[in-house]
Symmetry: C2
Subunit: 168 residues, 2 copies
DNA sequence: GCATGAAATTTCATACTTGAAATTATTTTC
DNA sequence: GAAAATAATTTCAAGTATGAAATTTCATGC
């Protein structure tokens, strides 16, 4: 940090070499993430005949036994409203999800897992945890802690300041 | 590393607390990656009226001036064959990409950027580098190096051993 | 020289995803 | 209490993505 030319957070043009390094680490992070996601996707398909988006929706509903409104669901998952509509439709058709009208508001719908849905998700979640552990379990606790710390720094960076979270 | 119960890479059941920690760090990494990706996607849409998949395809073609075969392109981007067909169709319609039959093999097609495509991509790539630098430039060189190291460890983990890369 | 299998793409059915427009219901304001 | 703004969803058009099946072409064995 003693050489000002090495500091790419200052105003003005950042050093080109550091810009390239940023790009390099981002592409690496993206690649690793996509690889892991593809692995999970494939395992969900082969072992449980389901998809990642369905799994994500079920995960969100699993945490809220009382159910969620469609809008709560789409903002929890950070996906568009129309998207959730389609996924829920298919989950309802499969008997994993139930739609309940909200008392006192004829616009809103409460969506929640059926018993079948809860059971199915519990099984998948247990398997999912093990898959992830096969990948991240190889990190030392220290490396894991550092990774978390770095990810926090990234999430709070200049370039990502649109709507901070409030999440459990 | 002195307490064997803390070592989750050993055979047998890993400690539940460490499994949860793996899940936690993965979800955090996924969230950060998606957040960055969404930011890039939005900027590409607003500033250049294009999409991330198109940008990715153009990036791959930019690196290979001589062009790529459809199959080379889809394996370079790690997406399905049918997917690339559709994206290339639209890029061709927009005059950014050219299709050339391969001499001596009537099955294959060589795909490459037009002048217009190259110019457009060069402009977008320069902007893209700056966006990424706004996010990752805040990391110290040391943190960046550690992140790269951790990502390498992840990519070489047990859970991800299907087809190692050969990539520049 | 033809049958067979492998290779390169496209086509297809299905599902996911987005942003925007449309719909319906609630709330606010005057 | 009608009009206007808000809110919750769905619908829509377009694009992305997948895995599988179909097509066309190439390479060989025989």
């Amino acid at each position: 940090m003693s050489d000002p030319d090495q500091c790419s957070t200052a105003l003005g043009n950042p050093a080109p070499a550091l810009v390239k390094q940023s790009l390099r680490v981002w592409l690496k992070m993206l690649k690793a993430t996509k690889h892991i996601e593809a692995t999970v996707r494939e395992k969900l398909r082969v072992e449980f005949d389901t998809t990642l988006p369905r799994f994500d929706v079920m995960a969100a509903l699993y945490r809220f036994e009382e159910g969620l409104k469609m809008s709560e669901l789409s903002s929890a998952l950070r996906v568009s409203n129309g998207n959730v509509t389609g996924i829920i439709e298919r989950l309802v058709a499969d008997g994993a999800v139930l739609r309940v009208p909200v008392a006192g508001d004829k616009r809103a719908m409460l969506v929640r897992l059926t018993h079948k849905g809860r059971d199915e998700f519990a099984t998948m979640a247990a398997a999912h945890e093990l898959w992830i552990n096969e990948i991240f379990g190889g990190l030392t606790p220290d490396a894991t802690a550092r990774l978390i710390c770095i990810l926090d720094t990234i999430e709070h960076s200049q370039g990502l300041n649109s709507g901070e979270d409030h999440d459990a």
